[in-house]
């Protein structure tokens, strides 16, 4: 891993990893760049370029070994470290994420969820125990939580985000439609479903 790998490349590597996992289950052993690229909705050139980043080498005649490539990407993305993630705010979105991630086979484990509603605290939601936000710090240590899915109402999102940061969480998947103010060493991915739908709707009419 020589120089800076772009965020887009990282995102695509995550996607390749997932697809390779599916292929492995279905018993395929090798795959050509254009085949894998097609499954990812990308071009072969781009895929090969991305794979340069992880330092894996395919064969000009067989293509890529599924297991080998998957392993290389995994090592590159995960390293030795493997913390977990948590859902913060168990409303509609939070619950949907918990249910979805329970089904999907992801390398990122969601080990806990947090809410302030006493009716939820202590219950198990889609296999995940719900804790009070007051316990955030303690549970982050207990479960080695390094990233969070922030799905609280917009009005309290900034406050909760600061709490996350103070608990040493350095990655936030933010569903609240506001721009979080966080230190620059904290990575924030904003997911604004209303805005995305609007974009899709725009292009539906083009």
């Amino acid at each position: 891993m020589p120089d800076q790998i772009s965020e887009k490349t990282i995102a695509r590597l995550c996607l390749y990893k997932r697809i390779l996992g599916e292929l492995e289950v279905s018993g395929v052993e090798t795959i050509y760049s254009h085949e894998l690229a097609s499954r990812a909705g990308l071009t072969a050139a781009q895929l090969r370029r991305d794979i340069m980043a992880v330092g894996y080498f395919g064969s000009p005649t067989k293509g890529y070994e599924i297991a080998g490539l998957q392993h290389s990407i995994r090592v590159f993305l995960e390293g030795k470290n493997t913390g977990t993630s948590a859902v913060v705010g168990v409303g509609n979105i939070g619950r949907a994420i918990l249910a979805y991630m329970g089904l999907e086979t992801s390398s990122v484990h969601i080990t806990a969820c947090f809410d302030q509603d006493p009716a939820k605290i202590g219950s198990v939601i889609y296999g995940c125990r719900c804790y009070s936000l007051d316990e955030l710090s303690y549970r982050c240590n207990q479960y080695n939580i390094q990233s969070a899915i922030l799905a609280v109402p917009a009005g309290v999102a900034q406050l909760v985000a600061e709490k996350l940061v103070s608990c040493n969480i350095r990655g936030i998947m933010n569903f609240a439609p506001i721009q979080l103010q966080v230190p620059e060493n904290v990575f924030v991915e904003n997911i604004n479903l209303a805005v995305t739908l609007e974009k899709v709707h725009y292009f539906a009419r083009k």
Copy 2:
């Protein structure tokens, strides 16, 4: 609207529109490019460049008029036409989207939802009536549905997508973790929550 406006610019315009709507409610009248950019998490230069696309002009001393700019973006994005959208597949994700969009004030109306589960068909879910997929074509005409939020299991996503296309839907927000095969005049936005979480988790450790 002279030449080609990029997808990224469209996405940002949608975001500006939303922020301007909030500002309008809070009674602000004008705003400078750097202020609006900051709320969007972008640079002032980029915002000004985006605004070139919609053909609105601010004042060097007052900045942008909230109402005027919002109107220009709205006209640019929506034109005269205003179809609606629908949720297809009312599982956990589908329900969460319905609940979320019911709260959020979006210019895109979700007028119907579809499922194949007889227990859901006929019921009203978060204010939205649920129809059988067999009625898709009829209801698309009735409600002028132009885009869809596809939240069905991966196994049937391709089949359902083809049905959407045959009903003249030209924009799909796809939550199924597969690459949909659709004609090139159909816009697809893939939302892969598991992959996105993995990316966030990666950067949380950098």
